[in-house]
């Protein structure tokens, strides 16, 4: 179980909550800020450099209105006396400033873009790696759709900020600071009038920050829900078609998509108040400057050129502020994305692997398995296994038999370390599973499940999935052992045939054969087959079994199968009932005794074959 119930807002617990209690918003914000800080830190130097570029670019741009004012006040005066030098010099200076500004702006745009893309790439890989580390228990409740949403649409919102927003921010802050200073220098009283506009802006911004954080949090969730519904229905497209599900799905999707629209509209409307609010403050200030400045020019306390510069500068003062509001909007959207990602990164990998595990014995693992006093529950209070003990000597093939829900698959999953026991220990050759690092663990145990997932790529890629260093001959011989070669020639390019999306062109039986070949090739010390041959036809199954006899000869194996033909190759049969071993012995002996659970199952199965 995840730790969410005990540590209220850790990890992704806050993900689907729209109204976070106020005492937790601080925690979420700190966590988000920490994440942003940690991704930006490696780029500190680049950030300083591009900031310098944009500062200088901005200074150059800011000098232009001043030079224009100078041109009007001084240049014209000179020109009136046929002295064209001042005006030519001033024009030249404007041109130089313009060039400098454009060049450095370009440096800034490409530099900040590069930093943005690097940050996105690194964060993407970090989040993906963390998803890989998180346990199956996490993934079972988190769902594929949400994982996709995190790695795509959340990053989209971050990307938008880097693409559209960042230069506005730096630009605008600099404009505001630079122009603000100039205004104060040009004319102190008039400058102070301009700066007084900041008081209402401060309160407006506080309000906007509060509201938009909430709004964008809702947006991210709504989008994730849209993605979940979208991927689920397209993955189950056959069932959608066969059971005429499309109209009802349209309704469900319509609601979710409306939910996203409503959330987006809300954030739009918030900006629709914030932005014109800033424009309004700016315009009122401009009008005030006209009145007060005009008053003073008439009184002879100011030159016309200064007033002109003032009004020109005011544009550069409030226009950027309005743009900051739009940057702030995209920042808030991105921050909501960061918040979700920070939540994922904050999740504990439930089944942590040590970076450097216990050393494996020199001769490799033998594959002796023990379960000692194992308790396990998927949900608190519903033990699947309790006080479970099991010893499997190295090299033994064990079949687990029992009704659905008896705990067979759970034993298999614990042995493959998909989960850790709630209590007790599982060991291989005396080494606890949690002491093995990822590499050693997979040398130790591999498992074929009933799903037999096929990845995009070729048949050969899929077989070699568990053993990247396998040679072509090894791949083909594993394929031949389980009968993949019986159909591979029908696929066009043989082993190099692309199997398409999730192997959609392969039948369930063919997928199982590929999955079996994959497991044989991986050559682990312990092989687990959980209903790994259920979709095979009889001749195929016979073939797989003869292969199993060879492969399992000196290997530890745990087999779960409803078809007892597979069980017959086992050295030992364990009958499970409600998490307890009720029968244990070689299949021949259990049959000979004739009364037990296995014997009756076997009789029923024999009957079914006629």
């Amino acid at each position: 179980m995840s730790s969410t119930s005990t540590q209220a807002w850790r990890g992704i617990a806050a993900e689907e909550v729209e109204e976070v209690p106020s005492d937790w918003t601080g925690l979420l914000r700190r966590r988000t800020r920490r994440l942003i800080g940690s991704v930006a830190r490696p780029h500190k130097r680049a950030i300083v450099l591009i900031t310098i570029a944009i500062v200088v670019s901005n200074l150059a741009a800011t000098a232009i209105p001043y030079l224009v004012g100078l041109g009007i006040d001084r240049g014209i005066a000179g020109a009136r006396h046929h002295d064209y030098v001042p005006i030519a010099v001033i024009t030249g200076l404007i041109a130089i400033c313009a060039l400098l500004q454009a060049l450095l702006y370009r440096v800034f745009v490409s530099g900040s873009g590069r930093v943005g893309q690097e940050i996105i790439l690194q964060l993407r890989e970090r989040v993906f790696a963390h998803f890989q580390r998180l346990s199956l228990a996490f993934h079972e409740h988190y769902t594929t759709g949400r994982m996709i949403a995190r790695l795509t649409s959340d990053f989209e919102s971050i990307n938008d900020m880097f693409n559209l927003g960042l230069d506005t921010l730096v630009n605008s802050v600099l404009s505001v600071v630079g122009v603000g200073t100039i205004l104060l220098v040009l004319d102190l009283p008039l400058g102070l009038v301009c700066l007084s506009g900041f008081v209402p802006l401060y309160f407006l911004s506080r309000w906007y920050q509060r509201e938009s954080t909430k709004a964008y949090r809702v947006t991210r969730n709504a989008m994730a829900q849209v993605i979940v519904q979208f991927t689920e229905s397209l993955r189950g497209i056959r069932a959608v078609h066969a059971f005429r599900r499309a109209p009802r799905n349209d309704e469900i999707f319509g609601e979710l998509s409306e939910g996203y629209r409503a959330a987006m509209s809300r954030s739009f409307q918030l900006l629709g108040i914030y932005w014109p609010g800033i424009v309004l403050v700016g315009n009122i200030t401009t009008a005030a400057v006209l009145l007060y400045g005009g008053w003073r020019v008439i009184g002879g306390e100011m030159e016309v050129g200064v007033l002109t510069s003032f009004v020109l500068y005011l544009r550069r003062f409030f226009e950027p502020l309005a743009e900051v509001s739009q940057f702030y909007d995209s920042f808030q959207a991105a921050a909501a994305g960061f918040e979700k990602l920070a939540g994922v990164l904050d999740e504990d990998p439930g089944v942590p692997m040590p970076a450097h595990g216990a050393p494996l014995p020199a001769g490799g693992l033998k594959g002796a398995v023990t379960f000692s006093n194992v308790r396990f529950a998927y949900r608190e209070g519903a033990n699947v296994l309790a006080g479970f003990d099991l010893d499997i000597p190295a090299g033994q093939t064990v079949a687990l038999v029992g009704e659905t829900g008896a705990g067979k698959s759970t034993v298999a999953r614990l042995l493959a370390r998909f989960y850790d026991p709630t209590e007790g220990k599982v060991t291989i050759d005396g080494i606890p599973l949690e002491a093995l690092d990822q590499h050693s663990l997979r040398r130790a145990v591999a498992m074929v499940t009933q799903e037999s997932f096929i990845f995009s790529g070729t048949i050969a890629d899929n077989i070699a999935f568990g053993s990247p260093d396998a040679s072509e001959e090894q791949i083909i011989s594993a394929a031949r052992a389980v009968g993949v070669d019986s159909f591979v020639h029908t696929l066009g390019d043989g082993y190099e045939s692309d199997v398409g999306k999730s192997g959609s062109r392969l039948s369930a039986g063919q997928r199982q054969l590929v999955a079996l070949a994959r497991a044989f090739l991986a050559d682990p010390a312990v092989l687990i087959l959980d209903e790994a041959s259920s979709s095979l036809d009889a001749p195929m199954e016979r073939l797989v079994q003869s292969a199993l006899r060879t492969v399992l000869a000196d290997r530890t194996a745990v087999i779960i199968a409803h078809r007892l033909s597979t069980v017959e190759i086992a050295d030992r049969v364990l009958v499970l009932d409600s998490g307890h071993i009720v029968e244990d012995g070689p299949p021949g002996r259990l049959l000979a005794e004739g009364r037990g659970h296995y014997a009756s199952l076997h009789a029923a199965w024999r009957d079914s074959l006629v």
Partner: protein
């Protein structure tokens, strides 16, 4: 494998233009937005003119009293501007989001109805990136880019006119110095749309890899291949980063040039204007106003940078979206398709051939088989013989490529898909449950089923475990719900098919994950159902064959024999498919 973006750039803009049908219901709102934007810009443009009036009027005449009306005028213009921005955002927040929602809903509806063959070929990630990222791009263009393109164009024209009105030579200077923008935009546009298409496709690829890593998580963990998936993801993310960087560099170059233009214009204006003032052909006030207006010219030119970027991205996004709308609905109702009210369930395959799209190998060849009402035929054959393909044809998940299939002697392609699938229910070998309650999953094909009928279906499918789930039949299952075992899912999928009371029931090895006892119980109950229903069953096990009246042996896509189980047992080929004699030495590895 991403779908190649083979279409031309012109087609990209055509695609964007095609989406206007989604905008049409909001034409009025679009006009209101445009009007608000234009008036707001006009108001802000007029404010500098007030400055000119102040300089030339009250200041020139040293008339302080006249300042107040000017102040009020500037104030009013400022309030109008802010008010109109608010109004535009208000309208936009409704209209544009509505457009996005409508396109998204239509896209989803279309995707759900596109045939299975389409989905075999298209990666979910590619489709998803169209429904999310691409639609977002289009929305942004409609809400900002398109509006500002018009507004900026008008602003440019108006300011230019005012500049000419102020002083013709200066106006000419401004015009000439800003014209190179058109040439720059043209050069930029071509490169940008090319790269942005690539970026969008790569975003789809990344989504695809993410989806695969998520759905294949168990296998990845079972083989400890997290590092491999991490590599694949890394390669894809890096490719996307490189392409995005190309966009960034192109944008930086273009935007750099654009910011240069208005400032060069300003330099030229100061020189020419200053001399003109000195020579007395221009007033100082007019030059001040002129330079102020020039600042206003700066915005449309600089804005062109992001507007054009946005437009190019929206156009390629629209192109990607239109690829879905344009995908052939190869399986669709024919004009005048019949609705089959009642069906006896007589199903006939007549010279049926089937080849997967894009393949040149026939999966089925000249299959002839008639199943009389109430009869059950089992299809037996080796892995890869075409059984599952055969089972997918009666419900038209794929269409035959030659011959025809009839239901009650009507070609199934002449029936509405809705009525055909009401009569033909399919249970697949890998059962799909959706994220909803057990009950909803079961009544999927027949939402009006009563409680008794649900109970009966659960009973037939031996799915009584459903009552013992934490919330009984209301327990949410599927990806976002409780995880069920393969056997449990198969039983629910069977209940789903049974409850829809089809006249034809197609079962594709539906009991593979069940233990012998459960299977026997289901078979017994299923036998009762199949007495009244036409059945087509793909089987692997002798026990299931017992459900069938006749058996058909499929070998490499050809029906080689049809008869009763006992008749066919004479055939070695048949016997070997079903034989489970494990005492005899296994066959040697067969070579093709």
């Amino acid at each position: 494998m991403s779908k190649p973006g083979g279409r031309s750039f012109a087609s990209a803009y055509r695609s964007l233009w095609r989406l206007r049908s989604f905008v049409r219901p909001y034409n009025r709102q679009m006009l209101v937005m445009l009007a608000c934007a234009v008036i707001a810009v006009a108001a802000s443009t007029l404010i500098p003119l007030v400055l000119e009036a102040v300089v030339n009027g009250p200041i020139h005449h040293h008339n302080r009293g006249a300042l107040v009306p000017m102040f009020l005028l500037a104030l009013a213009l400022g309030m109008v501007e802010a008010g109109l921005i608010a109004a535009r955002r208000r309208v936009q927040s409704v209209a544009i989001q509505m457009v996005e929602r409508e396109i998204r809903n239509d896209l989803y509806a279309r995707l759900q109805r596109l045939p299975v063959a389409f989905h075999d070929e298209w990666q979910t990630g590619q489709l998803l990136s169209r429904a999310t990222t691409d639609l977002g791009t289009i929305r942004r263009f409609l809400g900002f880019g398109a509006i500002y393109f018009v507004v900026d164009g008008m602003q440019y024209a108006v300011v230019m006119a005012l500049l000419f009105a102020t002083y013709v030579p200066l106006g000419a200077v401004a015009l000439v110095t800003t014209l190179p923008v058109i040439w720059m935009a043209k050069r930029f546009g071509a490169g940008y749309s090319h790269i942005s298409r690539r970026v969008q496709d790569q975003q789809g690829d990344l989504a695809t890899i993410t989806e695969e890593a998520a759905t294949g998580m168990r296998v990845v963990k079972a083989f400890g291949r997290g590092p491999l998936m991490q590599d694949r993801f890394g390669v894809s993310a890096r490719t996307l980063r490189s392409s995005s960087l190309e966009l960034v560099r192109l944008r930086a170059r273009f935007w750099g040039w654009l910011t240069l233009v208005p400032n060069i214009t300003m330099a030229a204006a100061v020189l020419v204007g200053g001399i003109a003032v000195a020579q007395g052909s221009l007033s100082v006030g007019a030059l001040v106003a002129f330079t102020t207006l020039l600042v206003l010219l700066q915005f449309p030119i600089i804005d062109l940078g992001w507007i054009l970027s946005m437009a190019q991205q929206a156009a390629t996004a629209a192109d990607r979206v239109c690829e879905i709308f344009d995908a052939t609905m190869s399986i669709d109702d024919r004009p005048g398709a019949l609705t089959l009210g009642q069906s006896t369930g007589r199903l006939a395959f007549e010279h049926v051939g089937f080849t997967f799209p894009g393949s040149d190998r026939a999966v089925l060849r000249d299959v002839n088989l008639t199943i009389e009402p109430g009869e059950t035929v089992a299809i037996v054959g080796l892995t890869g013989s075409g059984k599952s393909s055969l089972a997918a044809l009666p419900a038209r998940l794929y269409d035959v490529t030659s011959g025809r299939i009839t239901l009650d002697d009507i070609d199934i392609r002449d029936l509405t898909i809705e009525s055909l699938r009401r009569h033909v229910a399919v249970v697949f070998e890998d059962p799909t449950l959706f994220s909803m309650s057990v009950r909803e999953n079961i009544v999927l094909g027949r939402p009006d089923a009563t409680g008794d009928e649900i109970a009966e279906a659960l009973d037939i499918a031996q799915a009584g475990f459903a009552y013992d789930l934490p919330w009984g039949l209301d327990t949410r299952v599927g990806e976002q719900g409780l995880a069920l075992s393969g056997g449990q899912r198969q039983r629910l999928a069977l209940a789903r098919a049974v409850i829809s009371r089809p006249s034809v029931l197609v079962l594709d090895d539906p009991l593979s994950a069940l233990d012998v006892n459960t299977e026997a119980l289901i078979e017994e109950a299923l036998g009762r159902v199949l007495q009244k229903t036409t059945g087509l069953i793909v089987v692997h096990r002798p026990s299931t064959v017992a459900l069938a009246d006749r058996v058909a042996l499929l070998q490499d896509g050809v029906l080689v024999a049809v008869g009763t189980h006992h008749e066919l047992m004479e055939l070695p080929a048949y016997a070997s498919v079903l034989s489970v004699d494990f005492t005899s030495p296994p066959e040697p590895s067969r070579t093709p």
